[in-house]
């Protein structure tokens, strides 16, 4: 008999109103309803959240780990991109 794995879902939980949904892990589930149910059982059983997002893992577009040098290294020596690089005139005071 052919064994099929259930699809993988990435789970995001918002801990309280006003905060962002944060990635907290993943579950296997056959469909969206089930993904929310098991996410509720796995990740919010100790009152960790007020809202759950479930996203099919295969629908997430991720950057290529091998592309790290060209994507992220060039930012290393661009300290002028940080606001702290600039000296503000005294008159500006609390910015």
């Amino acid at each position: 008999m052919e064994r099929k794995e259930w699809p993988l879902w990435e789970i995001f939980v918002r801990s309280k109103n006003g905060l962002d949904h944060k990635h907290c892990g993943s579950v296997h589930a056959t469909d969206a309803r089930m993904a929310l149910q098991v996410a509720r059982d796995v990740y919010t059983r100790r009152q960790e959240g007020v809202s759950i997002w479930a996203v099919r893992a295969e629908d997430i577009v991720a950057s290529d780990p091998d592309a790290k040098p060209e994507l992220f290294d060039p930012a290393e020596d661009k300290i002028y991109r940080h606001p702290t690089f600039y000296k503000l005139p005294d008159e500006v005071d609390h910015m």
Binding site: W6, H28, T30, R33, M34, Q37, V38, D41, V42, R45
Partner: protein, 258 residues
Amino acid sequence: MGAPAMTQTTPAHLEYVLRLGDAALIHGQRLSEWCGHAPVLEEDLALANMALDFVGQARMLLSHAGVLEGKGRDEDTLAFLRHEGQYRNPTLCEMPNTDFAHTMIKGFLLGSFNLLMWSRLCGSSDEALAAIAAKSLKEARYHVEHTGDWVIRLGDGTEESHRRAQAALDMLWPYTNELFAANPTDDAAAAAGVGPAWSDLAEDWEKAVLAVLKHATLTVPARTPFQSYGKFGRHSEHLGHLLAVMQHLPRSFPGATW
């Protein structure tokens, strides 16, 4: 002479609450047997969570029964130190686990009953019972959603899942007769406003359950005159074994805490 005050506990009132408490306790114990054995991790946690919901309900209901009884018995004494014939759960609750489909069908049949029961008990003349009902109603909604979805997935799933779900339904269906059997305890409790006679829920229960079973492409077995009598204290051969496991620790080490 005015109307009699509700402070006087009647034997029917106590019996009515014990039935609810024991149903939750025994169903919760059966669900807890799945811990570490479910087909997937996600469902293992779901089953354990549901088991804990029922054990939590049992704690509240048995504590309340102890107060109604007025003999100083607390939830633990009632849960762990009674004999088989003193339990008042419907026989359906004590049916042993076989496969996952069986547990989902059973959970759905019982859960649908609980959902109606708690929603009616929110208006109980017994305020403590009404408060327990309000809390339990939310849990029951989730139980019905989770088990009902599984009933549909399994029934309308593969050939094997359908076969197993149908076998479970055929096996368990006759035990639902007991839920709705009329009896004097229910009549007295209903008259006092404690809660509905369970038979009053039959029509709504059947409507709700049949809709899901139809969606699941399962064949509803014909009603038979079969009767079980767990809620009257006459149980199947299975309850004694369940109690042996459940009571072993508190009986071996009385008063143990951890």
